[in-house]
Point group: C2
Chain length 214, copies 2
DNA sequence: TTTTGTTGAAATTTCGAGATTTTGTGATTT
DNA sequence: AAATCACAAAATCTCGAAATTTCAACAAAA
């Protein structure tokens, strides 16, 4: 039988990858059947996901997937830039060879996928792999920052960001630009230039920023 | 009778103000009696508070108040500086007269309390008022940043920060420095100098930073 | 036409009992 | 003394039914 934690991870993944419609209600009573447990157990899991921001809870009216909103994308992008730039700068100072090796590996994997994606007829089989690799790369950037609090805060923001953009990004229109961006971030990070790295992270995400709030 | 939301707020306040010992277990079965509801209801509330970081949940072994840790204080301070500096800079750009008025009012209230605190024989009756006013001032700083996501992220960090430091801060050793700091932050913000304001926010919180991570 | 009120169905929330798991104690063995 | 084990007590987790609240459709009044 499925354990509590499995349900949490399953629903988290589904919410992040738009397995539910934006704005759709998420009913514990329905999911109960799918997972073979009681509604209370689902409810518990949804509460945990709600403080992550992947579902919204309103008293007496249950859980709902957040609406898609350009405004929210803008806010989340801004926070991602802030946290990733800071975390990466700290990693540059503290990470050492081990971090550089991990970052290079993560980039290599992502880069390989992106190359193949660019020329593929059917991109569908790449979707999950790409999202995992992209997430891995960005998490590796800040992985040596030395602050669990920064990492978990970034994780929250990243999850909500993905939830907002997953649908659109499935088209992969941006893919050729992205290859360039990721390479530049890697090069800047390995060169040890903090300011340049911050700039490249900003540039990479800039296409999601409406207002130029620095 | 007490509603779900009231229990949430009551426990949140108690956790933030060290109404529980650091590291203490928080038993739903015990609190049940105090709030006159079932353990499941308490459990639900604790789950919500756990993703905020005010209690830690571990599978099959319940809820526990996070331990006090210099490391965590350092991390949370770093994030507070990052988020408050950014949020305040945005408020300076977007807030206008209305924000300046609110900020001045919040500072006036805090300043008044701090003056009286400085000379008071018994500081106990000021504790709750001061914490509320200090929180109000810092929340007002970022209140016009235009990003709900930034505000709620800051709120999470602020809650955990307070939980870590409430006990120590009750002594108010820092109070005379603080009066100066708050005044300087206010002046810098009203002058519209973003860089100076960022610096003053950093200086204000610097006493909680161990490592000089920028 | 718009607003207000009623009512039944559906969704949410609470509850306490029972099942499961962990924790603490003390005896037994190495 | 240290480690292992057994067992009882305590804590945690799950469940489904009952109580409460919201929602939606329709009727009545302004």
């Amino acid at each position: 039988m499925l354990h509590n934690t499995d349900i949490y991870e399953t629903l988290k993944y589904r919410l992040m990858t738009n397995g539910f419609e934006h704005g759709q209600k998420v009913r514990a009573e329905h999911l109960r059947l799918e997972f073979g447990c009681s509604a209370s157990t689902i409810r518990e899991v949804l509460f945990r996901l709600s403080t992550l921001g992947l579902v919204e809870f309103r008293d007496q009216r249950g859980f709902r997937v957040p609406q898609k909103s350009a405004e929210v994308v803008n806010e989340l992008t801004h926070l991602r830039v802030l946290l990733e730039a800071e975390g990466t700068a700290m990693s540059i100072r503290l990470g050492g060879i081990a971090w550089e090796a991990r970052l290079t590996a993560a980039h290599h994997q992502l880069s390989h996928l992106e190359m193949r994606l660019q020329t593929a007829d059917d991109r569908a089989p790449f979707v999950d792999l790409w999202f995992a690799a992209e997430r891995q790369f960005h998490e590796t950037l800040i992985s040596a920052c030395g602050s669990d609090s920064l990492r978990s805060t970034h994780h929250q923001i990243y999850c909500r960001f993905r939830q907002q953009l997953m649908v659109e990004d499935r088209a992969f229109d941006f893919i050729s630009n992205n290859i360039e961006h990721h390479q530049q971030i890697l090069d800047a990070a390995l060169s040890g230039d903090e300011a340049l790295t911050r700039q490249k992270i900003h540039d990479h995400l800039a296409r999601h920023l409406m207002i130029a709030a620095s």
